[in-house]
Structure formats: structure tokens, C-alpha cells
Amino acid sequence: MTDAATATPAMTAPPQRLPWWRRLLRDRAALMALVVLVLIFAAAALAPWLAPYDPYASSRKVMLPPAWAARGSMDFLLGTDPQGRDILSRLLYGTRLTLLIGLSSILVGGLLGSFLGLLAAFYARLDPWIMRLSDVLLSLPAILLGLALVAALGQGIMPVVLALVVSTIPDCARIARGIAMGIMKQEFIEAGRALGLPDRQLFTRYLLRNAISSILIFLSLRFGQLILIAASLSFLGLGARPPVAELGMMAAQGRDFFLFAPHIAVIPSVLILIIVLAANIAGDALRDVLDPRLQT
């Protein structure tokens, strides 16, 4: 037996733990999803500089297929739409609007909803009130609410964002409450009380800190859903008003020409798919690196 073996194993110093971003970069799928997301966000943000054409100007070349197709032209990499507008340019501007709608509604709705849910779990006497409020909101389907809001406020981005926020709040509240209830039952909450911690610290350090990663993963999944709902709303003709470009609306416009010019509908749809998928994978990876229990 060597000297090292006779010492308590715990007495040897542990290897240094990697910082969270280094661990994130080690996960291949997550890395790819992140790169894709960053690229899409950057492209959307830089749309005015990246777009080769004015997204609203017609080129007289109508329904041109993408460059790789037989009749395609290198001048219009992704082809043109029925009005002869460059699809690549419209895609860049459309992504910008879609992401903006998705992000603003997930931020406002997610924050409000999660906070309400955590509060309901933390203070049992608030629970029935918050949950009845969330039940009321839950009974309003996002698409119907969007229709109603558009009727009341007129067509535009605001009613869509409002409808998405309202539909996100009860979902987030329910999920956050469920996560928080599980945490509140654990003994360390009582241990914190026994130490004499004031409610505010118990809420942030014990409850929020343990709930945040599960809530984050839900929000990232929900972000994908919101993009889909936003796209569906503009597919139905709500939200963005033509000629403004928005991914869902672009897909809707391509619907009529699907048989002889499928690229008009398919290209924005594929982009929606990529954004949603990347957001989900990145959210999953984020949870893995944020949860100390899942680390090896």
C-alpha cells in the first residue's frame, strides 16, 4: 500500500472545475445550436447592411427559383417571390421582425409568469388568487385572443405581442409554480428558515436559484413555440401588415404558388424550423451546464 492510498481519499485536492462557458463549449450539439443562433441573430440585426436588395422593391423577375435550381440566377440567391422581390432580403428583414416579436413576448410574459408562479409557491396564501388568475388567462387561446386584439386595436405588431404575452404568462406561472412547489417541500427551505433567513433571501437564494435552470429550459422551449404562434398569426393575416416581411407571412404568401414555386413557402418555413430547433437544443444545453448536479 502506498502512502497516498493510506490517506483519506477526500484529503487529496480535487481537480479544478471548468467555468460554465467552457463546459458549454465542450458540448458539440449545443455549440452548433449556439453558433446557428448567433449567426441568425447577427444576420437579423445586420439586415439593412447584409440584404442585397430593398426587401420591398420589385425586380420584375417574378417567382425566380433559387440559384441552385435549373432556371435560377446568381443575382437572386434564394429566388424571388410572386411580386418579384428578393427572397433573401425579405428573409433577413422577416427574421428580424419574427425574432423581435418572439423575444419581447418571452421576456415580458416569461418574467411576469415565472415571478407569479414562484410567488404562488412561496406564499401559500397567495396561491389560490394567482392560480385563478392564471386559469382565466389560460382559457384564452393565443390565436383567438390575437384575433380579438387585432379587431380592437387594429392590425400591427403590438396586438400580436400582447396576445403572446398573455398566453405565456399562465403557462410560465403554472410551470414555475410546479417547479417551485417541489423545491419548497425540500428540507433545505426549512433549514434556511431555521437559520433565520428573511423571506427575500429565502426566495432568491434558496427558491429562485434552484428553480431558475428548470424555468430557463422551459422558456427556451416556449420561445420556439412563440415564434411558431407568431408565424401562425401572421400566416392567418394578423400581425405584420404587407408589404412588411415576416417569416410566417412569407410562408403564407407562398401557399398559393406551392405547386409550381414551392421555394417561396418552403424557405421561410425551414428557417422557422431551424430557429426553433436551435433554441430548443441551446436551452437544453444551458440547463446541463447551469445545474451543478448534472456535472461530471
Binding site: A10, M11, A13, P14, Q186, E187, F188, E190, A191, G192, R193, A194, L195, G196, L197, P198, Q201, R205, Y206, R209, N210, P292, R293
Partner: protein, 353 residues
Amino acid sequence: MKPPVLEAMNLSKHYPVHKGILNRQIGAVQAVSDVNFRLMEGETLAIVGESGCGKSTLGRALLRLSEPTAGNVLLDGKDITTLPPGQLRDKRREMQMVFQDPFGSLNPRMTVRETLLEPIILHKVATGAAAEAMVSDLLKTVGLSDFHAGRYPHEFSGGQRQRICIARALATKPRIIVCDEPVSALDVSVQAQIVNLLQDLQRQFGLSYVFISHDLAVVRHIADRVAVMYLGRIVEMGDAETIFRDPRHPYTRALVAAAPKPVPGAALPDRAVKGDMPSALNPPSGCAFHTRCPIARDICARDRPDLRETAGKQVACHFPDEAATIPASVAAPMSGVLQQRLAVLDRRRAAQG
């Protein structure tokens, strides 16, 4: 004589039970009823009883982790049952708790350092570099090392975690620690380490323990005094030595008899206590134990016996002298084969010297 550091006076905790759409109260679970005891400085008072007898509820009510329904808790002779939350928080510095589940009672998102710093900063025991030094001292006190401070609870074994919990309880320099089954989730070998650690700390810091346990072997080892609980009430209380040597309540006798003994070949009584514990929602009339008691008579179902001074301890039984005749253990003769084997082992041990 010094006043007791902690005193419970007629402490009760009842949980109301609601039913129906009108949410009417249909009864109450009487988890703890009329408990009285005094805890002296440097003393260990063990509270024993089977699962569901209210011993954990009692521990929580003592610290006001759940508000007592009636009665008072006195800390150094001052009532803490009516303190407003702010002042109660200050008093928590004096009384800490160690929980049963070392896996659940540490915040998984806080490193050991954060966990230990929290009470130190909160109760202004120390600040800055002094607080950091204290964390390192605490870790040493409970037998851990400095480099453990940067780790998260899930990186430790059960015994190590319980050491961290003990360190956290010590951080505010309390005088009383309520230990709620602190070793029942641990291996027997680790149990011994933790119990010894608790005893060392008691000598070192003059701590008083309320030691809640169902494990009579551990209690016998650590306790100065023992209170036996049955269905929310103390049925027998006295020095550990006399309780174990000469239990006078039929329930205590049954408990002592049911505890495994480190004697090879010793048989357990066929059935120590018959039946299950009655519901605390609807406790039996009179003496709560009369439904299972081997010496119960008519009076037992009618009148509840109070705790009375008997044979050097307090017993709540109408017939404590008769109870003393119930066999507390059954001695069985060792079989011949076992005796031979033990003899072989003894010779070996002697040969190895």
C-alpha cells in the same frame, strides 16, 4: 440553580383537518399535546418514540418552524412563542437545528463556503476575512478540510454532508441544537462517527441537545435524559440510566424490549406491542396506550393518567408498579453450536493478542 436553557410549557401542536366544498374543519390531528420539559445547560435530552408519535413535530414547534397551537417555549426563561418575526430571527442564533436527511437539508446550489458563510453574515457573527477564517475553522471542527469549501453538496457522502449540516448549525455559536434523527439516514459506522462528533462538540462548546430519535441504541449512548412519546404525549421521562434499567410505562418497556440487543442468541419478544398506533386524528379515550397495553383495565380507558413521580422518574401510567413486572426482554439460552463458535473466535483473538 441555573434556569433551564429551554423549557416547554404545555406545548401543543394540532393540525386542523378540513373537508368538503365548504372547507369545514372536521377535526384536528393532535400531533403534540401538553408537552412539558426542561433542558439544562450542557445536557442531552432524547425524545424517543415510534414513527408518527409527534417527536419531529415537537422539534419543529420548539424552534417555531411550525407555530405551536398552544403552550409556550421559554429560551433562558424568556417566552419566544409570542415574539414577532424580526426578534425571533435574532433568537434563532441561539438555537439551531440538524435535520434527518443530509441529502435534502443543504441548498444544492450553494457551495459549502456559501452555506457556512450565510449564517455567519446573517447574524453578524463575523465579517470579511474573519468570516472566511471562521468557515475554515468550522470545517476543521467537524473534520473536513479547507478545500471542501469550494464544493457543492452533491459531491459529498451522507456522513460528510451531515458534518456540513452540523458545521452550519455551529456557525452562529448557538447554545441549543435540536437534532432531528441526525443519524438515522446514515450507515451504522458513519452513525458512530457523527454521534461521537456531536458529543465532542457538546463538551467543547457546552451545547445542549434535544436529540430526536427512534434508535434506542444511539439514545442510550448519547442521552443524559430521555422522554418517551406516545401519540403526541410524553408517557415517561427521566434519567437515561433509570429509563433503560427500569422502565415503568408499559410502552417504554415494550420499546426497550423491541430494541435489538448486541447479544448473540438473544430472542426478541414474540410481539412487543400488539396492533398499530391509533390515529392522532381520533386518539383513544383515557390513556392513549390502553388499546395496546397488556395490563390495561377499565380505568385506563376512562381517565388519562398524568405524569407522576415514580421510581425516580416521571411516568404517566395508572399502574407503574405492575408495569415493572412485564418482561422487558426475553433471555434465550445460547445454542451449543453458537457457544462453540464464539469460543473459537475468543481463542483466535487471544492468540493474536
